[in-house]
Amino acid sequence: MLFALSIAAAHACSPALAGGKLVESGRYSVGFRTHPEKIAVGKHFSVELMVCPKGGAKLAEHLRVDAHMPDHKHGMNYKAEVSPVSEGRYRANGLMFHMPGRWEFIFDVRAGGKTDRLTQSVVLE
């Protein structure tokens, strides 16, 4: 019984990050928050992410983090570098929103030969 609980705890995955946002796809829940919390135009920032599989989906094998401006039809001038921190937890460094306006985060979670794209809009004043 104790052993079973330990296994369950080890596989428990909570995507929520304090002060962050949560986005969902069919197979994954992704919680994320930025550092610093308030994104400034033209300043580099990082994103902390928690990627949790849903309903028996496989653990994420690869995570790509990007962002673009849908109304402007262009992305960032910088490429985010994603590093795993622990199981399910990642940190993406080097992002920069170089214009005010509506940006959309893109999180591509790949596993089992498929990619789930999760997005979240944010308006930068």
């Binding site: 033209g42 109304d71 402007h72 039809k73 214009m99």
Partner: protein, 394 residues
């Protein structure tokens, strides 16, 4: 009448200055300066417009040393850099210095459409005022530090046409320069020509970091808005206020010319032809990123003094994309009235030409994968005048 009714409450709120939109509403007596008319401006700025205006200050930006340059902010290095800026012997033929093209009396530009060294160059000579605030240097951003950028023209065969050997020999052979070098860097010029030239660049950068513009009538207006001082705000000409509204409104100029230095420090394609000769193009930012990443003097290399590596973040993460072809650095608009001609190739002679260029923008010239919010502004003659008045106030 109930003294606590809505009108009494509104009067109390207005007197306390709590509602910025009401305080800054437009009125027929705008700009009259009458003591009783403190609640009017020439332009009825919305809250959103006021918020955008406030983002373009305060000015000046607090000075900060460049962590990649250990001589940044060091008085002796600044003074040595000032002398070197005017030192013609730094050039290969002894006839030109940094100041030959970056003339102080011309706000550190040369007034020519395209720079002239040993040949006529392909780009306009950019001004140096407030250059310390740049993230990228040069029209293509091929340098990621001011000291690295300062080395480029010295060894460029088309510009000053010197070499590291030439610079090293000069510093060692001239007793006065050698003594100034020792004072600035705490050691005499060594036999290591690369190091001597590197220090020369860092000293030149330390000097250029001191080149800043003062406050302007726009800054006074912006600060008056922030402290809700309508009387002071109304000292700003009505035409400039109307032009400012275009800038933060339908012109969308603020999207790129963002922040206290009126630039987001990045790059854009605005449809200026980049053919510089038959069959030859200026690749702009695309070539700039390639040069940056190939350079031994970028911030990822061993010449940076920033052990933390934090100042190299942009270089570490910069992304080369096809859309970078024909992109050029978004210039600051501060002091812009004094730095004609305009654009990366200097082909627009006046600010009015620049405004008309955006007003009549040829969308066919824009990249298919470029910025999609660029549209012809279709300004009236009066609006052109207003936008020019605003730009002249920076």
């Amino acid at each position: 009448m109930n003294p606590r009714g809505p009108l009494a409450m509104l009067a109390a709120v207005l007197a306390a200055g709590f509602l910025a939109t009401d305080i800054f509403r437009a009125g027929p007596q705008a700009g009259s300066g009458s003591p009783g008319n403190l609640l009017t401006l020439a332009v009825d700025f919305s809250q959103a417009e006021i918020a955008r205006i406030l983002q373009h200050g305060p000015w000046p930006v607090a000075p900060a040393n460049d962590p990649s340059n250990r001589f940044s902010g060091q008085a002796e290095a600044v003074e040595f850099g000032r002398k070197l800026f005017f030192e013609k012997r730094l050039s290969g033929n002894g006839l030109s210095s940094c100041a030959t093209c970056h003339l102080p009396e011309r706000h550190f530009t040369d007034g020519k459409a395209r720079g002239e060294g040993f040949v006529v160059l392909e780009r306009n000579t950019p001004g140096l005022l407030n250059v310390r605030l740049n993230r990228w240097f040069g029209w293509d951003g091929a340098a990621d530090s001011l000291w690295s950028q300062s080395l480029r023209p010295i060894v460029d065969k088309r510009e000053m046409a010197a070499s590291t050997t030439h610079v090293g020999k000069l510093m060692r052979s001239d007793p006065r320069l050698a003594e100034d070098y020792r004072k600035a860097f705490g050691m005499p010029p060594s036999e290591d020509d690369d190091l001597v030239t590197l220090n020369t660049g860092k000293s030149l950068a330390a000097f250029q970091e001191t080149l800043v513009t003062g406050r302007t009538s726009f800054d006074d207006f912006r600060d008056a808005l922030e402290r809700r001082d309508a009387k002071a705000a109304n000292q700003y000409p009505a035409a400039a206020q109307r032009g400012l509204r275009i800038f933060v409104g339908k012109g969308n100029c603020f999207v790129c010319h963002f922040g206290p230095n009126f630039t987001n420090g990045e790059f854009g394609d605005i449809g200026i032809p980049f053919f510089v000769a038959p069959g030859k193009v200026d690749p702009g930012r695309y070539g700039g990123i390639q040069k940056l990443l190939e350079s031994r003097a970028n911030l990822l290399g061993g010449f940076s003094d920033d052990a933390s590596g934090k100042s190299a973040a942009s270089t570490r993460h910069v992304r080369l994309e096809h859309r970078n072809w024909g992109e050029f650095r978004v210039p600051s608009l501060r002091n812009v009235a004094n730095t004609a001609p305009y654009m990366h190739n200097g082909h627009l002679a006046t600010l009015r030409d620049v405004v008309r260029y955006y007003s009549e923008l040829n969308e066919d010239r824009l990249h298919a994968d470029g910025e999609k919010i660029l549209k012809p502004l279709r300004l009236t003659d009066a609006e052109v005048d207003d936008l020019v008045a605003f730009l002249q106030s920076l």
